[in-house]
Subunit: 443 residues, 2 copies
C-alpha cells in the first residue's frame, strides 16, 4: 500500500492498476511459418481524483520510481482539468465470490516451438488430405496476464490467467481462382489446442466450397453458426446492454427492463466463470467483484451492465463490468464472456432436418450495423446451401433486418456451444431461423 499512501498526498481518491503480459505467437502465411514472437509488456495505469477532477497517467513499467513520477504527473493532469460533477467515488472494498479456478502454468512457460510444431503438423494435414488446399493464413500462441488492482478505499486484488489460441484460414485452388476462405479455430485455458478438430472442420466445409451454388431464393431456413452470431451481436445487441447508453438514452432497451424482448428460447448472461471461458476473472479492472449477470432470461430483458462510474450515476451500482482501455487508460463497460444458453438438439440434426436452406459461417459488414436501433445489413460469407439435410455447395447472400426481430423468432438452438474471442468474448451456440428473408448478391 506504499504507493497508494504516496498517492494520497496528491489525491482524494486513487487507483493503481498494474498489468504484466507475456505473449507467444506464431504466424502462418501461404503454408509457411512466417514468424514467431515473444512479447512482454508491463503497464501501470494511475487514476487519481482531486476535487472531482480526474487525472490519468499510463506508463510501460512497474518500477516504483516510474509509478511515483506517474502519480505526480497524474496529479498535474487532474489540476489542469475541470470538475466532473457527475463523479461519485472509486469502488469500496469488496468481497470476492469467484469459484476456485486453477491457472495453467504451462501456458506461462510455453515456447514458440510448441506452436510452430502444432501449426506445421496442421499445414501438413491440410495439404495431405486435400491436395488443392492451401493454408493462406493462420496463427497459434498463448498469452499470460497478471494484474493487480489497488485503490485508496482498500481494494487490493491480484489475479492471473493464461489462454491459448489457434486458427487456420484455408482456401482451395480451382484452376486460376480459389474458393472462399474457410476459417476455424480453438481457444482454451490449457495447452490442449484441438488441431485435428480445426483441420477436419475446415476440410469438411472446404469440400462444399469448391461447388459454388447461385442463390436466387428470397426466403429459407437458415442456421447461423457461433462465430457469425457473435459478429452480428457484437455490433447490435452488445452495445444496447451497456449502461452508459441507458444513461445517455442511446439504446432501444432504455426502458425495457422486465419486458419480453427476445424469443423465450433465448437466455443470455455474462458469465466469466463458464467452463469454457478463457478469462475467469475474480474482479474487473476496477477491482469490483466479478459475478454472473443475467441479461435475458427466456427472452425477458433483466438489466444493463455497469462499471463503477455509470453505475454510480444511475444508482444501480457496478455489475463488475468495468473494462480498461489500454490506449486511454479509461474505464468503459464491457462484457466478460457473453453466454447464450444452448438448446437440446445436436447441430448435425438441425442441419439434417433442413430440406432447402442455408448455413452461415461468417458475416461481412456487421460493423456498419446501427446499435441505436439494432438494424443490420450484412453479407453471409462463407455460407453454404443445404438440400435434403446435407451441405451441397457454398453460396453468398445478403441478410438485412433488425436484431430484435431476428432474435424475437428463433426456431431452435444447438446443444453445442463454441468459445468465441474474435468479436468480443462469448460462448455461442448455433441458431436456426425459419423462413428468413434473404437477398441475392450480384457477384
Amino acid at each position: 500500500m506504499n504507493l497508494i499512501n504516496y498517492g494520497e498526498r496528491f489525491f482524494d481518491e486513487l487507483e493503481i492498476a498494474k498489468y504484466r503480459r507475456k505473449e507467444v505467437s506464431v504466424d502462418v502465411e501461404l503454408n509457411q511459418i512466417s514468424m514467431s514472437s515473444v512479447g512482454y509488456r508491463a503497464l501501470t495505469v494511475i487514476r487519481g481524483i482531486k476535487d472531482k477532477k480526474i487525472g490519468i497517467f499510463i506508463v510501460d513499467s512497474d518500477d516504483e520510481g516510474e509509478i511515483k513520477r506517474g502519480i505526480e504527473q497524474a496529479a498535474k493532469n487532474a489540476m489542469a482539468n475541470e470538475r466532473d460533477e457527475k463523479w461519485v467515488e472509486l469502488p469500496k472494498e469488496q468481497k470476492y465470490n469467484a469459484p476456485e479456478i486453477e491457472s495453467n502454468y504451462e501456458i506461462k512457460d510455453a515456447s514458440p516451438d510448441f506452436f510452430v510444431n502444432l501449426l506445421n503438423d496442421a499445414i501438413k494435414d491440410v495439404r495431405t488430405r486435400d491436395k488443392r488446399a492451401m493454408v493462406a493464413g493462420g496463427a497459434a500462441g498463448g498469452s499470460w496476464l497478471e494484474m493487480r488492482i489497488l485503490n485508496s478505499h482498500g481494494i487490493d486484488i491480484m489475479q492471473e490467467f493464461g489462454s491459448t489460441f489457434m486458427y487456420l484460414y484455408v482456401a482451395g485452388r480451382m484452376g486460376n481462382s480459389v474458393t472462399p476462405g474457410i476459417m476455424d479455430f480453438d481457444v482454451r485455458r490449457d495447452m490442449n489446442l484441438d488441431k485435428n478438430f480445426i483441420v477436419s472442420s475446415i476440410l469438411e466445409k472446404l469440400k462444399y466450397a469448391y461447388t459454388m451454388k447461385k442463390s436466387n431464393k428470397t426466403e429459407g431456413n437458415v442456421i447461423i453458426e457461433p462465430l457469425a452470431l457473435a459478429e452480428l451481436l457484437y455490433f447490435t445487441l452488445i452495445p444496447a446492454i451497456n449502461g452508459e447508453r441507458k444513461v445517455k438514452n442511446t439504446t432501444p432497451l432504455s426502458d425495457k427492463v422486465g419486458q419480453k424482448i427476445l424469443d423465450e428460447k433465448i437466455t443470455i448472461y455474462d458469465d466469466p466463470w463458464h467452463p469454457i471461458s478463457t478469462n475467469p476473472i475474480i474482479a474487473d479492472d476496477e477491482g469490483v467483484a466479478a459475478r454472473v449477470n443475467k441479461i435475458f432470461e427466456k427472452g425477458i430483458f433483466k438489466g444493463f451492465l455497469w462499471d463503477n462510474y455509470w453505475g454510480n450515476i444511475s444508482g444501480e451500482g457496478s455489475t463488475g463490468n468495468g473494462t480498461r482501455n489500454f490506449s486511454t487508460g479509461g474505464i468503459g463497460i464491457g462484457v466478460h464472456n457473453l453466454v447464450i444458453e444452448s438448446g437440446n438438439k445436436e447441430k448435425e440434426k438441425l442441419i439434417g432436418e433442413i430440406k432447402d436452406g442455408f448455413l452461415i459461417s461468417g458475416f461481412q459488414g456487421a460493423h456498419s450495423s446501427n446499435p441505436d436501433t439494432g438494424d443490420f445489413s450484412v453479407v453471409a460469407n462463407p455460407a453454404f446451401k443445404i438440400e435434403d439435410g446435407k451441405l451441397v455447395g457454398s453460396t453468398v447472400f445478403m441478410l438485412s433486418g433488425n436484431v430484435y426481430s431476428l432474435l424475437g423468432n428463433v426456431a431452435d438452438i444447438s446443444r453445442e456451444q463454441r468459445k468465441i474471442v474474435v468479436m468480443g468474448n462469448g460462448v455461442m451456440p448455433d441458431m436456426l431461423f425459419e423462413n428468413l428473408k434473404i437477398a441475392p448478391v450480384s457477384r
Copy 2:
C-alpha cells in the same frame, strides 16, 4: 558481432535489427487533458536464411540471452519452411552518405509536463478567442528511437532520432449542432512546436465553418491543401511507385520509366534529409544506405523504390527503401519522406486569385481508392467555398477521378510546404487545379 557469430552457426546469412523507443504522449478530449503516458519498448527482430529458407523471430527485449534463444527459434522456423528460390542475399557492407544531422537530446528527456502545459495553453487560447469553439480532441508528445542494424555481411549501423508532434481538432457550437471539425498540427525534430500557428490556423478556418454553403456547382477551381493531398497520394500514387508491384505487374507505371506521366510542374522525390523531415535516416531497416531518390522530375517518371529482396529480384538493387513491419518482422518497400517540390506563389495569392472556387483541407474515403489504376472517389471535407479571393463558408462535395489525370494538369503549386506524418511521411505543398469536375453530396 558476438550475436552475429553465434547466429552463423545456424544460418548462411543473418540480420539482427534492434529498436528502442521511448514515447511521451498527452491526449485531449473535450477541452480536458484525458491522459498522459510514457511508453518504452525494446524490440529485436532476427531474420536468418539457411538454404534459401527464411526464419523470422521477434522479441520485446534486447537481452542477449533472449536474442540467442530467438536466433535458435528463427532457425527452427526456417527449417520448417520451403525454399524461397527467389532469395538472393542480404545487403552487403555499405558506404553511408547521409549529411551530418544532429539529434535533439531534449526530446529524449522530455517529460509529459511540457506537453500538458502546451496543450492547456492551446485549449485556453482557442476558447478565449472563440467562445463557441471547443477542443474536441488533440494530442502532443515526443518520440525517441534508437536503432541498430547488424548483418553477417558486415553491416553494423546505429542511428537515433527524435521528433515531436501536436495536433488539435476543434469544432464550433451552433445551437444544438456543431460545425465540421477543423484540424491542424505541427511535427518537428525539435521541441519548438508552434502552438500559436496551430491555434490561429484552426480559428481562421473555423470562422468560415459556421456558415455552411450548399455546393451545387459541377466544376470549379480547387486548391488541395497538403494534408488532403497526402491522403489522396497515399492510396493512389505511393503504392504505384513500389518496386514489388512492378515485379508483380500490379502498377499502372510498370513500363513507364522515362515517360512523362504528370504535369511538368510536378517534381517528386523521396528525401529523408529534407530540412523539415522528421526521420533523417542514415540507413534503412536493412542497413542499406539512405539516399535521395528522384521519382518524378518535371512530370517524367524516373523509377521505382526498392528494398533488398525485390531490388535483387528485379536486378535494380535496393534504393534504400526497406521498411520493417513491426507486426510481422518482415521488410516491405516504404517511402521515407515523399517531397513534392514547392512552386513560386504564396498560398494566400493562390486563394486570392480564385473568383469562384474551393479549398480542400481533408478527404474522406481515400482508402477505398484503387492503386492498380489510380482511380479515386472521395468526399472533400472539411472544404471551403472561395468567392472573390476569400473564404466565405464551409461546404462538402465529392471528387471522383484518376490521380494521373488529376496530377497531369496542375495550374499552380504553392511556395509553402507542410511536413505530413498522418498518411505516410511527406513534405507537401498546396496544389491548384482549374476547372475540376465536382459533384454535390446529398446530406
